[in-house]
């Protein structure tokens, strides 16, 4: 059997606590489905590393993790010690670009045992399965450019500009990915986030490319909404959506808002994909390092485990992915306070939840 080498970067804060549970479940899945996984741990890409070395990464970071099959990532950031623009641009955002992880995928799914903060029109609660969407985000260009600057600094005339940059190559490849995902799902419905009525240069271009790409996918139903009203629709009728594709910024917003609507933002996973497989893809929970609860052993490990499931899927093990998801759902459904962390109203620890999911698997 093939051996998949996984670079493990636990990072900062609760990243250190949820990662062991992620690996525990990955190892259980590997033995159950006879998958060859090798975990290589790295201490860089963390603020702790920065404090010691004055930089986020060693000079040879690319050769050390660049040939791995995937990066399993915890969380990075500790604003009190290292400013975000150093820690994030020096690790996560750098990986996205240097490894050309041009697609970010985040599911927003109403899970059993989780209460969604958004209800139906008549006030009744939404049920598991009723909301099930995937946000596909452009992950390398767009609004997150590093082009721009400041003029007349420190004066009354001060002006700051920053470019949004969209390329045909960059837009088309993420759209193609999103259309493929839509095609693979039962509803075959793709929604594009735009703002062509206000951001009247780049966004009309995005719309044009969506319309062009749609021609190759006549089996996919396509619609588009301006980002302002789209966020409103997420709240009012999240069940309407299937696959939603957006630029770097719009995808960023929607992939927090979607999981917020399903009540799963604390357990949501994120996959930073290089679909061409020329570089490793990176799998991380959305929650971040959470300095406020770090060190207490009560962080919810489900996000770390869920993104591990996405990693298994990416490596070609769909069955293992499904099994891990079923195990997560079984533990969530059981509702027992011992296997829920405090964020979900329980009194379980990070470890107890990890063990329970292994058990269920």
């Amino acid at each position: 059997k093939p051996l998949h080498r996984i670079a493990v970067i636990a990072g900062d804060g609760i990243g250190q606590e949820v990662m062991p549970e992620g690996i525990r479940v990955m190892e259980a899945a590997a033995s159950k489905f006879d998958i060859g996984l090798q975990f290589d741990r790295f201490d860089f890409a963390s603020c702790a590393y920065y404090e010691q070395h004055g930089k986020m990464l060693p000079d040879d970071w690319k050769s050390r993790i660049g040939s791995h099959d995937a990066i399993y990532f915890g969380a990075v950031g500790w604003p009190e010690k290292v400013p975000d623009h150093i820690s994030l641009w020096g690790s996560l955002l750098l990986f996205r670009r240097e490894f050309d992880q041009y697609v970010n995928v985040r599911p927003a799914k109403l899970m059993p045992g989780v209460t969604a903060p958004v209800v139906r029109r008549d006030g009744s609660p939404r049920q598991p399965g009723e909301i099930d969407m995937v946000i596909v985000r452009e992950n390398t260009e767009g609004e997150y450019s590093s082009i721009g600057g400041r003029m007349f600094p420190g004066t009354e005339r001060e002006i700051v500009v920053q470019e949004t940059v969209m390329s045909r190559i960059g837009v088309d490849r993420v759209l193609r990915y999103a259309f493929e995902v839509a095609r693979s799902r039962p509803k075959k419905h793709l929604t594009s986030a735009t703002k062509s009525n206000g951001i009247a240069i780049t966004m009309p271009y995005w719309d044009e490319r969506v319309a062009e790409m749609a021609k190759s996918y006549p089996d996919v139903t396509v619609d588009k909404f301006h980002i302002d009203i789209l966020t409103a629709h997420f709240v009012q009728r999240p069940d309407f959506f299937d696959v939603v594709v957006g630029s770097n910024l719009f995808g960023d917003i929607l992939s927090d808002l979607g999981p917020a609507c399903t009540g799963t933002i604390g357990i949501a996973p994120s996959a930073n994909l290089n679909p061409d497989r020329s570089h490793p893809s990176l799998f991380e929970p959305v929650h971040g390092s959470a300095p406020d609860i770090a060190g207490k052993g009560i962080a919810n490990p489900i996000g770390q485990i869920w993104c591990g499931a996405m990693m298994l899927d990416h490596l070609g093990y769909r069955e293992a992915h499904d099994a891990v998801m079923l195990a997560i759902e079984a533990v969530l459904r059981s509702g027992s306070a011992e296997v829920r962390t405090p964020d979900l109203g329980g009194k379980g620890t990070t470890r107890e939840v990890g063990l329970a999911i292994c058990q269920a698997l």
Copy 2:
């Protein structure tokens, strides 16, 4: 008593239907509070006008409405007839800039008789008054610039760029306005929307100016959130917010999302303010022209009336504003199907709701 001249532009679609009810209530308020209002009607800034004249506005539009005390606006846009970038940039967005309406204000308030689609953590419904926030948006610069363009058009190498432009003058004046609003409210709490971890040139500048301005308002509690997680907080704990200030784009998003969370997006008002009073301010409902229900006489006029109340406030008549708001709330609270339009689950007409609010006043 002073006579206030109001330029009335009903515009397109349901704008034509809700405006008469807005004026009806404004006239009732004027007679009750002895306010001198004169309404001058204009047919331009509509797609109907465009179809006849090949342009959205007559050449002398500025002299025709520029010396009015306010513009009372219905809705503009009819995408099937005129593309949005022509109708909107040729009217509403042009007014915002030419009349230097640099602040956009939109309240998001949970009203009696309206069910909010977001519930409390325990699943129980949120109550009127529990959510009461004001979104203050920069309205003239930022992401809505007209600088940028396309290179290598039509080829594989195609690149499209657009500038975001923030000026010290532009940022400071909207922040000052927002801080003043925060200071005037009981909670004195201001939240700034940012994305300085990703949009790492303009947004750190926004943060800097917020921090600087905060020094002059030691009585105001200030916090900031990145726009992605901020949208999540709107859903999860909308009761936390008081005044929220954002750039042109972020303010646009939040001022739809806020009213969506309170279930009032169909009745939300919007004020485009020139606080210096060197040009008229513009008051419009948020809902737009709604081609799908236009001509049926069932559009909800509350947004038009609510923004009329904001106009009275702007003209200096706080008492009249409060009275109109109480009348709106009384009609909403009554819950009678005759005085609710179908969007709120009733069977009343636009006219019936307008008359009921006049009655209540």
